[in-house]
């Protein structure tokens, strides 16, 4: 068990591709860190640098207090779970688990004990004599996990370990990984592009974008106070509505569309207003408008997903698109005009130019 420290870590691939642009993260001992971001943002690259599978172009990586920049992967005391599991196809499940231990000169009896214990935890005991190809995807995934835990390393590294499983199994394994990590208290770095997986697993989330950190924080922090429009649109499903608005002679108006009633005192002349779908209330006719934002939305489509429905609409006829969340039982017609409102404390403001969160949001008040 160990902390992991990344200090302005940079990766430049051949051809001058800067995949990781100077990232610093302090990971505490026993912490579960999730690296999340869209495809190509450098998550795997960063993880692989920690594993030692990729050279570090500049910066430092420390595991515990040991600088590991030049240390071989096998000597870093880490274990990695790969997306395609990367099991040794010619070895039995038992030997897949035992291989890393044998090479470290651990006594046979100890190996046997550890392998059987891991197999029991992961419920793969009955497959120990099988070859990987005789296992289902889910079972292979467990073997890959087993190979990591028998090693009892100071850190687990996961690169999208669940993305080859079907949706149901993915949810189940997600919970198991979380539980396992809580029991073993092994520092973990987990890469995913699935924001739901990220939210449910992480002690702390690291949101990456184009090789840079957009935000680090607990899942709730990131959800409730996204540091940028990028984070706001990436975390949460359906994504946050981001509405560019500008100050005109008549007050604040959306860039596209109309029917929005919103005012704040600010020197800025434009903002991006962020509204989570679930924070938009659909008002009954004639209901009073509280402090905050009110708008008229023309319904353009309804997506029922069971317990709730996502209502697609526009701000006025042909205006900016927005998504609302409504109870599943309620019925809405295409073309119907809804009055919606968001409470003042649920409104996120982002700088129009930089996309960064405006912190004076707390000072937001109706004019």
């Amino acid at each position: 068990m160990a902390s992991i420290t990344l200090n302005t870590v940079r990766k430049i691939y051949a051809g001058n591709v800067e995949a990781v642009k100077g990232i610093s993260i302090d990971i505490e001992d026993g912490e579960f860190i999730v690296l999340v971001g869209p495809s190509g943002c450098g998550k795997s690259t960063l993880l692989r640098m920690v594993a030692g599978l990729e050279d570090i172009s500049s910066g430092e990586i420390l595991i515990g207090d040991r600088l590991v920049n030049k240390v071989e992967p096998a000597d870093r005391d880490i274990a990695m779970v790969f997306q395609n599991y990367a099991l040794y196809p010619h070895m039995s499940v038992y030997n897949n688990l035992a291989y890393g231990l044998k090479n470290r000169g651990i006594a046979k009896s100890e190996i046997d004990q550890r392998v059987r214990k891991a197999a029991e935890i992961l419920e793969i005991g009955e497959y120990l004599d099988r070859k990987p190809r005789q296992l289902s995807g889910g079972q292979r995934q467990r073997v890959a996990m087993g190979r990591a835990i028998v090693r009892e390393p100071s850190a687990f590294l996961f690169d999208e370990p669940l993305s080859n499983l079907d949706a149901k199994l993915r949810v189940q394994m997600r919970m198991e990984i979380k539980k396992l990590q809580r029991d073993l208290k092994t520092t973990s770095i987990y890469v995913t592009h699935d924001q739901l997986e990220a939210m449910t697993l992480a002690d702390r989330l690291v949101v990456l974008n184009k090789g840079q950190v957009e935000q680090i924080g607990s899942p709730m922090e990131v959800y409730e106070k996204p540091a940028s429009t990028f984070v706001a649109s990436f975390i949460g499903s359906p994504a946050m509505n981001l509405i560019p608005m500008k100050k005109t002679a008549l007050g604040w108006e959306p860039e596209q569309g109309d029917g929005v009633n919103f005012d704040i005192r600010s020197d800025a002349s434009e903002f991006i207003v962020g509204l989570r779908p679930e924070d938009l209330e659909i008002l009954g006719d004639g209901a009073p408008l509280g402090a905050g934002l009110a708008a008229k939305v023309v319904v353009t489509g309804v997506e029922p997903v069971g317990a709730e429905s996502y209502i697609h609409g526009t701000l006025g006829e042909g205006g900016q698109e927005v998504i609302l969340r409504a109870a599943g039982k309620q019925h809405y017609d295409i073309g119907q005009v809804l009055s919606i409102a968001a409470k003042q404390e649920k409104i996120h403001l982002f700088n129009r130019q930089t996309g960064k969160r405006e912190e004076e949001i707390s000072a937001l008040q109706p004019a």
Binding site: A51, P73, M80, N103
Partner: protein, 293 residues
């Protein structure tokens, strides 16, 4: 497999006909002819033939010279297969490190494969030519008076070297593509599990190459047994004398130089049986031990 239905039931057979005709005329008919001839004693001057039953086989198998040739062929095959496989594997491992993912480089390496075997064989023999061969020159400067076609050992040596040299590119290409089909992530998992690269090679990479290796082993045995005819011929120049030759070459020498058609037919039938056994062995092995993944 996709099933294609032809509206005309005869058409598929008609399309197969040219190929079947070639197989029949150039492979089946001579084979049948050889089997037939192996039971007859052919008059050397072409005046008829006498049925002698298994006499030709008995003569062949009890002939001490045949035994000597068989022994040499065995040694030759083992040496050629071993060296051409191991050297090719070594080169492929080195090349794999350099070119992982570099497609154009790989294509360049494929060119070696495009050199026609007789040309390669001829080049090899020229290198060892008694008068102008640079390698003969080199051996001489090292104090070894290399006399191909005169000293049996030297002849055998050059045969093995040339045969190995010609087969390495083929093995190399197969090994290289075998190595490149070992998933990168498996190699990486191994790098995390095992510190020593050599150990990693023998415990992970090599077993995963087993299907390729086994396939190549059969190919190389077949090559050493049969396809080296041209090399042997170039080295001994049709006049083996007391130089070592392979079984296939002996079929030719006895049949066409010694005019013993019956005996040489019996020898070729023995070789046919050998090929048959080799094929059976190959299929058995594929079914049983070697895991194709």
């Amino acid at each position: 497999m996709k099933r294609v239905q032809y509206s005309n039931p005869i058409l598929p057979y008609a399309l197969l006909l040219p190929q079947l005709a070639i197989v029949a005329v150039f492979f089946l008919w001579p084979a049948v002819e050889a089997v037939r001839a192996s039971f007859y004693l052919e008059d050397p001057f072409g005046f008829g033939s006498t049925f002698v039953g298994l006499e030709n086989f008995k003569d062949t198998l009890t002939n001490s010279q045949y035994a000597r040739t068989a022994r040499f062929t065995l040694i030759f095959t083992v040496l050629v297969a071993f060296f051409s496989l191991s050297i090719a594997l070594l080169l492929a491992v080195k090349a794999d490190k350099v070119i992982r993912g570099a497609g154009s480089y790989r294509t360049l390496l494929m060119w070696v494969y495009a050199i026609a075997p007789p040309v390669a064989g001829l080049l090899g023999v020229m290198l060892f030519d008694q008068h102008i061969g640079p390698l003969t020159e080199l051996a001489r400067s090292l104090g070894w008076n290399l006399q191909v076609g005169v000293t049996p050992f030297d002849t055998a040596f050059v045969m093995v070297i040339t045969a190995v040299w010609k087969q390495i590119p083929v093995n190399f290409i197969f090994f290289l593509s075998g190595l490149q089909s070992v998933p990168k992530s498996v190699q990486e998992a191994a790098a995390i599990d095992c510190r020593s690269g050599t150990r990693r090679f023998w415990t992970v990479t090599f077993p995963l190459l087993a299907p390729t290796g086994f396939f190549l082993l059969i190919i190389n045995i077949t090559y050493a047994l049969f396809d080296t005819f041209g090399i042997v011929d170039l080295v001994v120049k049709g006049e083996p004398g007391n130089n070592p030759i392979t079984l296939v070459y002996k079929v030719f020498v006895d049949g066409f130089r010694g005019n013993d058609l019956g005996g040489s037919s019996a020898q070729s039938v023995i070789l046919m049986v050998l090929v048959f056994l080799l094929t059976v062995f190959q299929f058995r092995m594929i079914e049983r031990r070697v895991h194709y993944n």
